[in-house]
């Protein structure tokens, strides 16, 4: 195998390793960190199914973003939706063995690249031209957008401008990564420019703001039921504190904390 194929193969495994361990670490950390107080934000659901519906509306429709800023919603939602569609479009390359029929029918999903780029350009434009958003942007905020634009643009150039790399090589390389039967990748610069930022973003997912993905599910403001009067909600550390202070129940003498 050529040096470049070895590099990208190792890069892939390195990225996936960081992704899995880092993300597991963060999810376990979020899970284990108590939310000691009830802080659901209005309009707060009074039932569990209400919370489920609320999170579903946020995750699938970006309902709050729609309420907050129509343009940002349009750019952000089309970009994320396109990302999901394009993910499914790419599964066919990685699928080991016989490919299910459904994956063979995903070709039209390639047009999702247009809303992807549209959304990204919009988000980048907002970051550059709205003074408030420019103020809060760090270099990494621009860099991430530019990387995803690079991924989208290189993909579009290959797909829509007849710059296809050898698809057999692509398939063998991608499937090889899953089945551990490594093979050469196509060495066209445009293909390398497509997969390098993908691997890079996978690697930085757990150590960057991309954590907003898992984060939304752990936001107590969104995932709590507004039922504080009906159910006693108390964290382990607070309960421990309560036990240690030995409140004299018979004489009603609170010792404070």
């Amino acid at each position: 195998m050529s040096l470049i194929s070895i590099f990208f193969t190792l890069f892939f495994y390195f990225s996936v390793l960081i992704f899995i361990t880092g993300l597991s670490y963060k999810v376990v950390q979020y899970w284990n960190t108590p939310a000691p107080l009830k802080i659901p934000i209005a309009p707060a659901p009074l039932t569990k199914s209400g919370v489920f519906l609320r999170l579903a509306k946020e995750v699938f429709l970006f309902a709050t973003l729609f309420k907050s800023s129509k343009w940002t919603w349009l750019f952000g939602w089309s970009f994320h939706l396109a990302l999901v569609l394009l993910f499914f479009r790419h599964l066919v390359y990685f699928w080991p063995g016989e490919i299910p029929l459904i994956l063979l029918k995903t070709e039209p999903l390639k047009y999702a690249a247009y809303p992807l780029i549209f959304g990204l350009i919009g988000l980048l434009g907002r970051r550059i031209f709205v003074d408030r958003v420019r103020y809060i942007s760090a270099p990494s905020d621009y860099l991430m957008l530019l990387l995803i634009i690079l991924i989208g643009a290189s993909g579009m150039l290959m797909t829509f401008a007849n710059n296809h790399p050898n698809m057999l090589l692509v398939k063998n390389f991608a499937e090889g990564l899953i089945t551990f039967q490594w093979s050469e990748l196509p060495k066209e610069a445009i293909f390398l420019a497509h997969i390098f930022p993908v691997f890079f973003l996978i690697a930085i997912f757990p150590i960057s703001k991309l954590l907003h993905g898992p984060g939304i599910f752990f936001a107590p403001t969104l995932n709590q039921v507004d039922d504080a009067r009906k159910k006693r909600h108390i964290s382990n550390w607070a309960m421990q504190k309560e036990k240690n202070t030995k409140i004299d129940l018979d004489h009603n003498q609170d010792k404070g904390s």
Partner: protein, 510 residues
């Protein structure tokens, strides 16, 4: 200062272009050594403050999931940037919610994350140095923890959680704000924010009873420390002395009088406000709540009702059950004792608005609405009630119930623009521990979005009365209304409207 000499502010509202450092400064007065020590904080800034602060950040984010998740999750989309009343009123970019959080987040990244440790410039990570601490002190005291930004954040980030944590960390290194910390000392020693002892309170209540009897001919009582009463009423101490608050207290008394439900105030727990929330300190907040629990047990009451106070109602509704077991559903010995005593037919605690609304629903109160005909009323949803609580256990009850109570007592009601009420309500500009004269410039500027909406209601619908159910809102509005060319007396308690229209039975034995 006469009304005429007050600088008038324009009431139009646009998203202002950034004016960097327009609110730079030293922040509010700092707490003295004694004040800090009373609360168990270091008296002065500790020598190795940076290390102590970093350790405290580590502790706080391990105890509060909100802090840990919110510090990681922000994707800097910027939709919160134009949602804060302090940004809209001051144009200082550090008053944009995300920029305020970033004061904290940049330190978190620098000291706790891989990217911030090795590539600080790339991700905007910054050292926790003296300049940063100054910015923390200044700008975390320009946040009223109103949570309007959280309503608009697509991933639920609540700046109030970050601002409370930041104040908690500053207190841990001995840098505290005078106003809330001094008040917390008083409530711990005497039982209310004013430091008003039992005899003074008793006198005040007796005077009020006389006043009501003179005016109405009905012997409406304001009982204090009466054991075995049905209801323990816990209300902000401002209700005992401040205008317009006191007319609200008279309103509660009249409603209780008509309801025939026996009630009492407590001199031991003569304060519903709990500034422990503003400084993000669980233990201090719990101490305040425990006083109420103790009073409820000592007075052997069946119900606990909370008066018109915004953050107090959030603490009572959302936190009391957690802090003290005052609520239901607790199975530990600690909650059970209280729950066995309290009447489970009613939610515990209840808001006075819920109490009055319930009587109205059951036709137990009659009103002469024409008494309020000189008024065109609008309702200011107070942040903590609107965004951090509920009433009536129905969806959006906290918006519905107060309006229904007003409409029962008044013929003319008109809401302000819908982008400025209910869950999107604008803060009065004085909440979250900022209701102090050393922050008056901020308070006036922060009131601008609310004043703008009120001005439109005045012009379009002839609104001349602003009703609220929060002691801080009432004090703040009394002070800042003249700056926007309004009558400072247009702010009233909702229960003042009730008080003015309610028809009293002269025989006190109803």
């Amino acid at each position: 200062m006469s009304i005429n000499s007050i600088e008038k502010f324009p009431t139009y509202l646009a998203i202002p272009p950034l004016k960097k450092d327009s609110m730079a400064g030293n922040g509010p007065f700092k707490a003295s050594i004694e004040i800090q020590k009373d609360l168990g904080f270091p008296g002065e800034k500790v020598d190795n403050w940076q290390q102590v602060a970093i350790n405290k950040i580590a502790e706080t984010k391990s105890k509060y999931r909100s802090v840990q998740v919110f510090l990681d999750s922000c994707m800097k989309c910027g939709v919160c940037t134009d949602k804060c009343h302090y940004y809209l009123g001051t144009a200082d970019p550090k008053n944009m919610p995300v920029a305020r959080q970033d004061l904290f987040r940049s330190v978190y990244r620098r000291h706790f994350t891989f990217a911030g440790k090795y590539f600080p410039k790339l991700v905007g990570a910054k050292d926790f140095d003296e300049d940063m601490l100054d910015d923390w002190y200044n700008y975390f005291h320009q946040c009223s923890q109103c949570r309007r930004c959280a309503v608009f954040c697509p991933i639920g980030i609540d700046t109030a959680e970050i601002s409370m944590a930041a104040r908690e960390i500053m207190n841990a290194i001995g840098v505290g704000q005078k106003y809330p910390n001094q008040i917390l000392g008083k409530i711990n020693k005497i039982g209310n924010n004013l430091g008003m002892p039992e005899p003074a309170l008793r006198d005040t209540l007796a005077d009020l009873e006389e006043e009501i009897e003179e005016e109405t001919g009905a012997s409406v009582k304001l009982p204090l420390d009466i054991k075995n009463s049905e209801v323990l009423m816990v209300t902000p101490s401002a209700d005992f002395f401040a205008e317009p608050h006191i007319d609200g207290l008279i309103g509660y008394a009249k409603v209780f009088h008509q309801s025939g439900v026996s009630w009492t105030l407590s001199s031991y727990a003569s304060e519903a406000a709990n500034f422990g929330m503003f400084i993000g300190n669980y233990d201090v907040m719990r101490q305040g709540a425990l006083r109420i629990r103790k009073a409820a047990l000592d007075l052997n009451v069946k119900r606990v009702v909370v008066g018109e106070c915004g953050h107090a109602w959030r603490v009572a509704y959302s936190f009391w059950n957690t802090l003290t077991g005052l609520g239901s559903g607790g199975s530990d010995e600690y909650s059970l004792k209280l729950q066995n005593q309290l009447d489970s037919n009613y939610p515990q605690p209840q808001h006075m608005i819920e109490f009055t609304y319930d009587l109205i629903q059951r036709d137990k109160l009659s009103f002469d609405k024409s008494k309020n005909d000189h008024r065109v009323v609008t309702f200011h949803d107070s942040c903590n009630v609107a965004r951090g609580s509920n009433m009536g256990d129905i969806e959006n009850g906290q918006f519905i119930l107060p309006r229904e109570v007003i409409k029962a007592a008044c013929n003319n009601f008109s809401d302000m623009h819908k982008s400025t009420i209910k869950s999107a309500t604008f803060c009065c500009g004085g909440g979250g521990g900022l209701l102090t004269d050393d922050l008056i410039d901020l308070r006036i500027k922060g009131a601008k979005p609310r004043m703008h909406a009120l001005k439109r209601s005045e012009q379009d619908n002839g609104v001349n009365t602003l009703a609220a159910i929060c002691a801080i809102c009432k004090s703040q509005f009394s002070k800042v209304l003249p700056n926007y060319d309004f009558d400072p007396y247009m702010i009233v308690s909702v229960h003042q409207l009730v008080s003015d229209a309610i028809i009293l039975t002269k025989d006190s034995e109803t």
